[in-house]
Subunit: 141 residues, 2 copies
DNA sequence: ATGTTATCCTACTAAAATAGTAGGATATAT
DNA sequence: ATATATCCTACTATTTTAGTAGGATAACAT
């Protein structure tokens, strides 16, 4: 399951996606509109900024803006930054790989199955983007 | 990620699958051969028994046996018992559903994406079984 | 220059989940 | 009766999660 932090991150990102190309959005207004604890949101946006997804500006008229188009930001990237590994086992993780002590990775049946599961999940999460998460009334006729 | 407990559960189950149809297997011998802390393994096997996957027998000659064929035990079932929900959000979980406070489930884009991801993952985990996890040298020519 | 506004940074904390241990009760075979 | 093995309840240490608190820093306006 995704942590609450990750869910908040997605909400905030969708909010910023809806303001893509416009003026910066303040933490406080995201916090109020998306019902995310302000101080917690501060951390989240900072993490996303460090991961090069957001740009920020201090002082009056400042706030956060999405750095790339919502269509180019896939869900797997966000999850990895805020939530961590997507795979079900460390030994099948692409970005957070860790060897397991006992098993022979070539023959381990558990690993083999978890690899297939990972590929299936990733196929979705890497193809779908922030734009796919944006509500319908934004893609009006 | 799956908890260590879940990884232990899979190891133990594969071990029992290799002894399917034979005499009961003692906790202690699973513990030693699979390198799982004995007292922890006790809990795990008991959980699996309560979920009706295993049968147990006390006293000399006792131990655990797999109740159904390894081919009929799918991975999703095991994960749900020991690890919990497979879905990435409570609001898209089939077995551990919980409503989220804010969003309208009909239109929520985040939910929509997580539903697609869940289906992809589940397609694998519900089709693959313990038998698929068993090592190659057990399916000799 | 000096507020004002907003992000940035470090540290702290409470609660829950994870990964076990300990020790006795119970059932069964010999 | 005794040995063997599971069953059951309770406890504990560590890590992760979900935040809070408070000041430092940068940018803008007057």
């Amino acid at each position: 399951m995704l942590s609450k932090k990750t869910q908040y991150a997605f909400k905030a990102l969708v909010h910023l996606a809806e303001n893509y190309g416009k003026d910066p959005v303040k933490i406080s207004s995201i916090s109020i509109q998306q019902k995310i604890p302000l101080k917690f949101l501060e951390h989240i946006l900072n993490d996303l900024k460090k991961a090069d997804m957001l740009e920020s500006k201090k002082g009056k008229g400042g706030g956060y803006t999405l750095k790339v188009s919502p269509k180019k930001l896939n869900l797997a990237t966000v999850i990895r930054i805020i939530n961590g590994p997507i795979a079900l086992l460390p030994c099948v993780s692409l970005n957070f790989y860790e060897k397991c002590m006992d098993c022979d990775e070539e023959t381990c049946g558990m690993r083999k199955m978890m690899l297939i599961a990972r590929d299936a999940t990733l196929k979705v999460l890497e193809r779908k983007t922030l734009a796919d998460m944006m509500c319908e009334h934004h893609e009006k006729i």
